[in-house]
């Protein structure tokens, strides 16, 4: 059996990169992901929006906050403003491009912080019977709250800013991550390799972070990609509710909200940011699907 499977294995390499990086590298180099058409389709919008965010100043001649008084009477797309201007005469494309910068930094940062808290809480509650009831109850309370209400309460309390958006997303996402991690810990902690670590007198922290956590990398990676999409929607909703970045900074959700009043006359003002959000979310979801299907097969 073992020798029959050997041709399928990656060749043995010498010198070892850290385990997690090596696993991801292997998952990629195993080329199953690279052979998945879904992955490429998903990557197109994600990569495009990343490029737009990075090169925003090069891609547009306009300041996102500069008002073109001349365009006020005719905000529709024209040769001067390819995607038109908004009701205040600001170039929509410039605002979208610079808005991509904020969404593509805030979303990953808030997710990373959600994962940091969620993983720590989940590991602790799955591994320790003392901590478990406290964390579980806390997560239940957080998850029972309607997310939108939570946002409104939080942001009104601490004020709208990019760092506070990160806090709000973390507070609402970390409990969900903690639950997933806890479930995986409960499954893993009765395995014999954990007993083997315990009879070596390993500390609980070592077992949690070095024995258990590496086994969760792949499912968490899938979850991360999936949550990127959700988080972008969340950030958009915050903007739409007026709880996003404080004006006049460009914010996709905020742009949709501002354009709603003019929907019937100048639909492009909110339609363009809507499409931007949708394409980015679909991209991330497709990538997540591709990663998930590869992880299932691996």
């Amino acid at each position: 059996m073992s020798d029959q499977t050997q041709p399928l294995l990656a060749p043995i390499r010498h010198g070892r990169p850290p385990v997690v990086i090596e696993r991801i590298w292997r998952a990629v180099s195993n080329s199953l992901l690279l052979r998945s058409p879904l992955f490429y389709v998903g990557c197109v919008p994600v990569v495009l929006w990343c490029l737009v965010a990075i090169f925003a100043p090069l891609l547009t001649g306009y300041d996102p906050n500069a008002q073109d008084i001349a365009a006020l009477s005719q905000p529709e797309p024209s040769a001067l403003h390819l995607l038109g201007t908004d009701q205040l005469g600001r170039d929509v494309w410039a605002r979208i491009a610079f808005g991509a910068r904020s969404v593509l930094t805030i979303a990953p940062l808030s997710l990373l912080s959600s994962y940091a808290f969620g993983i720590v809480l989940g590991l602790a509650s799955g591994y320790s019977r003392l901590i478990d009831p406290i964390v579980t109850k806390l997560c239940d309370v957080m998850l029972a709250f309607p997310v939108i209400v939570l946002y409104v309460v939080l942001i009104t309390a601490i004020g709208p800013s990019s760092s506070n958006i990160i806090v709000a997303v973390t507070v609402s996402t970390a409990p969900a991550v903690a639950r997933i991690v806890r479930g995986m810990v409960l499954d893993l902690k009765d395995r014999e390799f954990v007993d083997a670590a315990r009879i070596r007198n390993e500390s609980g922290l070592y077992i949690m972070f070095f024995e258990l956590l590496p086994n969760m990398v792949v499912p968490l990676l899938v979850d991360f990609c999936l949550r990127m999409g959700y988080t972008i929607i969340k950030i958009g909703s915050l903007g739409f509710l007026g709880l996003g970045l404080p004006p006049p900074d460009p914010d996709w959700g905020g742009m949709v909200k501002e354009g709603v009043a003019f929907m019937l006359v100048w639909p492009h003002i909110s339609l363009v940011p809507c499409l931007a959000i949708a394409s980015l979310v679909i991209g991330f979801n497709l990538v997540a699907d591709a990663v998930a299907s590869v992880a299932r097969r691996a």
């Binding site: 059996m1 073992s2 020798d3 029959q4 499977t5 050997q6 041709p7 399928l8 294995l9 043995i12 390499r13 010498h14 070892r16 385990v19 696993r23 395995r191 014999e192 390799f193 007993d195 083997a196 315990r198 009879i199 070596r200 007198n201 390993e202 070095f210 024995e211 590496p214 086994n215 990398v217």
Partner: protein, 691 residues
């Protein structure tokens, strides 16, 4: 081809998993046939393609397996390419399959009666006939209380009862061919023996053909008249059972026989020879004999270059066909060795390494005990262990032997009693690093014992850092390499992940990890029971070698009496948390037998007749504290005294047993039962007289 009498005809069947260049042949060019009323056994280690073959007979290949060439005919009907309705019909009327795990074969949410009737309706009978047939079939699988059984859910029955139900289900439709895929592997030893008896009985009383698949050669030999041996997808030898069991011609069949543990006569041990060669990272070989790299007779020219064909050995035995360039013709002899070990009385030994004193572990009462009493997983167990000696703990599932291992290693705390290690009492929890490095454990399941997310080397180096004083990376790495070599593995495997190793290799790594800090005591909890016999033998050899080299004491937990006889010095037989029989291996196996030991030995030796008619499958509640624990199942029960009065300890040579029956009246092994299988054993009988 005689269509009338052949129930199964497999012609040059080749099955592969995957497509194109990545396709792996699981079954190559296998041809065999089964006449009605005949039982053919198929043996081989895991991954040799025996289950794939069975699935192709059912036309139920999964996981991307495809038939590349050849054909399968059941009762003259080609199975491959049958329309789904015809296939359904064939499966319902002609075929029956019994899988390994009875728990997975029955629907846990439906009553047994409903599940049996569902099968019976396929036979198109009137209601009365159907009920009568169910009743009759249940009796034929020796389930007496049919009413209770029919109205039970699967979880209300024991493992053995469930497997009987599965067999009854298979018999209901009166199939022409029954496929048995490891039907007893998931069961306890004594239940296993009963099920095998049942299968043998069914075979002799019906006209059904049987294909019996197992990794256990002696087991198959008990039921089947012909045996085929498979290796890496090929049939390497097929012939009558006598032939295969006594003078196999293929080196692989011979090696399989040599590594099957057996209970030898007093003063002797079976010498187990493994055929696992784990040190080499093997390359796939296409031309040449597939067994050449493990074969001791392989010759460089023909064996490596020319693929041998399956051919008749000589004209006298056209049925015995073998796929080998240089078949062996002389009789096989059972390799035995004298028990050279230090079988002196424990009293004469130095101070014990570990003393367990009145260990008791109670689990608070739950639904399990029912009567409000705590479940006594371990009840008042005391023993001593000495450097360089192996103490085996034998028990069936639920006997508390794993709980005992967890108590000794410190993963669980005793409710009462204590453990003294190297003279000092161990605290109930929080052992020192020194004790941790002196006491290590090898687990049962090779799949779970290594962290799947970390390379073999990472785990091994961590164990070294934790269990020794070595800190410098180069010293740790050197030690890891030494350990890999000590367990006969290529150090290059340290860069691999556990999923890339075979079961035997993983278990070797686990042993290396346990020996990282030069332990004084290693606990092996069913460490070899999940492995193929060939691999099991080489792992046992390795453990013995390490023990001899380092003077380690081994606590060997097992359900297999033959393995224990070949491996251990002292033995403790545990039943429902209590030690019923203990002492030197020879004095326990060959002295007066506790009724439970007798029962286990009979099961292990598979004597022709199940001497012991017991109500073994009844889940009778334990009445802890009163009488003998084994009384309710005991075939030698004297009367009420066994149920009410705790039995006295009786000593016979260097063994102790707890029974009310006088030693002289207890059972003993009869001479003809000594050696399994019944191959020649010169001189064995002369040593049988009891002391």
């Amino acid at each position: 081809m005689d269509i009338v009498s052949s129930v199964l005809e497999v012609e040059a069947l080749t099955i592969a998993y995957g497509k194109g260049r990545r396709a792996i042949e699981a079954v190559s060019e296998v041809s065999l046939s089964i006449e009605s009323g005949e039982a053919l056994g198929l043996v081989g280690e895991s991954g040799c393609g025996k289950s794939t073959l069975a699935m192709s007979v059912m036309s139920h290949l999964t996981g991307g397996a495809r038939i590349l060439s050849g054909s399968v005919q059941v009762c003259g009907i080609p199975v491959n390419g049958l329309r789904s309705s015809a296939l359904r019909d064939l499966r319902a009327r002609k075929l029956a399959m019994i899988h390994q795990d009875p728990m997975a074969s029955l629907n846990p949410r439906l009553r047994i009666g409903r599940q049996l009737r569902e099968v019976a309706t396929l036979a198109v009978l009137s209601r009365e006939e159907r009920e009568a047939r169910i009743e009759h079939t249940l009796r034929s699988v020796r389930l007496a209380d049919t009413h209770r059984v029919l109205s039970s859910y699967p979880f209300e029955l024991s493992g053995g009862q469930k497997q009987r139900i599965v067999i009854a289900m298979a018999l209901l439709a009166r199939p022409a061919l029954m496929l048995l895929d490891e039907p007893t592997t998931a069961l306890d030893v004594s239940v296993q023996a009963e099920i095998v008896d049942l299968i043998a009985e069914i075979r002799s009383s019906s006209q059904m053909g049987m294909l019996f698949i197992s990794h256990d050669l002696p087991l198959v030999a008990q039921v089947c008249s012909r045996i085929g041996v498979m290796y890496k997808g090929e049939l390497v030898e097929i012939g009558p059972t006598d032939q295969i069991m006594n003078e196999p011609s293929h080196p692989y069949s011979r090696a399989l026989l040599a590594c099957t543990p057996r209970i030898a006569a007093r003063g002797q041990r079976a010498l187990l020879t493994g055929i696992d060669i784990p040190s080499k990272v093997r390359e796939p070989r296409i031309e040449g004999c597939r067994f050449a790299d493990r074969c001791s007779n392989a010759r460089a020219d023909s064996c490596l270059e020319e693929h041998p064909q399956l051919r008749a050995l000589n004209n006298l035995q056209p049925d015995d066909r073998v796929r080998c360039h240089f078949p062996i013709t002389e009789q096989a002899d059972v390799p035995l060795q004298d028990a050279v070990r230090n079988d002196t009385a424990p009293a004469a030994l130095p101070a014990p390494l570990l003393e367990a004193d009145h260990l008791t572990r109670l689990f608070p009462h739950r639904a399990v005990s029912g009567n409000g009493q705590a479940v006594r997983a371990n009840d008042d167990i005391s023993f001593h262990m000495y450097r360089g000696r192996t103490l085996a703990v034998i028990g069936e599932s639920g006997s508390g032997k794993s709980t005992l291992a967890r108590l000794v290693i410190g993963l669980d705390q005793p409710s009462d009693g204590y453990i003294r290690f190297e003279g000092s009492k161990l605290p109930p929890s929080g052992r020192s690093d020194k004790v941790a490095s002196a006491m290590q454990m090898v687990f049962q399941n090779p799949g779970g014992t290594l962290n799947p997310a970390r390379t073999v080397g990472t785990g091994l180096r961590r164990a070294i850092r934790k269990l020794t004083n070595l800190k410098a990376a180069s010293a740790v790495d050197q030690r890891a390499r030494d350990l890999m070599l000590a367990v006969q593995l290529d150090p290059a495997l340290m860069d691999r992940y556990p999923a890339e190793l075979s079961g035997g290799q993983k278990q070797r790594v686990a042993i290396a990890r346990a020996f990282a800090g030069s332990p004084a005591l290693v606990i092996a909890d069913e460490a070899v029971s999940a492995l193929d016999v060939s691999v099991q033998a080489s792992i046992l050899q390795l453990l013995k070698h390490l023990q001899a080299q380092r003077g380690t004491a081994i606590l060997f937990i097992s359900h297999d009496l033959a393995v224990v006889h070949a491996f251990a010095d002292d033995v403790m037989i545990v039943y429902r948390g209590k030690v019923v029989h203990s002492g030197l291996v020879d004095d326990v196996y060959h002295g007066p037998l506790h009724p439970y030991t007798e029962r286990l030995l009979n099961a292990a030796l598979r004597s022709e007749r199940p001497i012991l008619e017991t109500t073994s499958d009844e889940n009778t509640p334990v009445t802890a504290g009163h009488g003998c624990v084994y009384a309710q199942k005991c075939h030698r029960r004297l009367g009420d005294i066994c149920l009410t009065v705790e039995p006295p300890e009786r000593r016979a040579a260097e063994a102790t047993l707890r029974c009310h029956i006088l030693l002289e009246q207890l059972g003993r092994l009869s001479p003809r039962q000594r050696v399994m299988p019944q191959a020649c054993n010169p001189g064995g009988t002369s040593q049988l007289a009891a002391q």
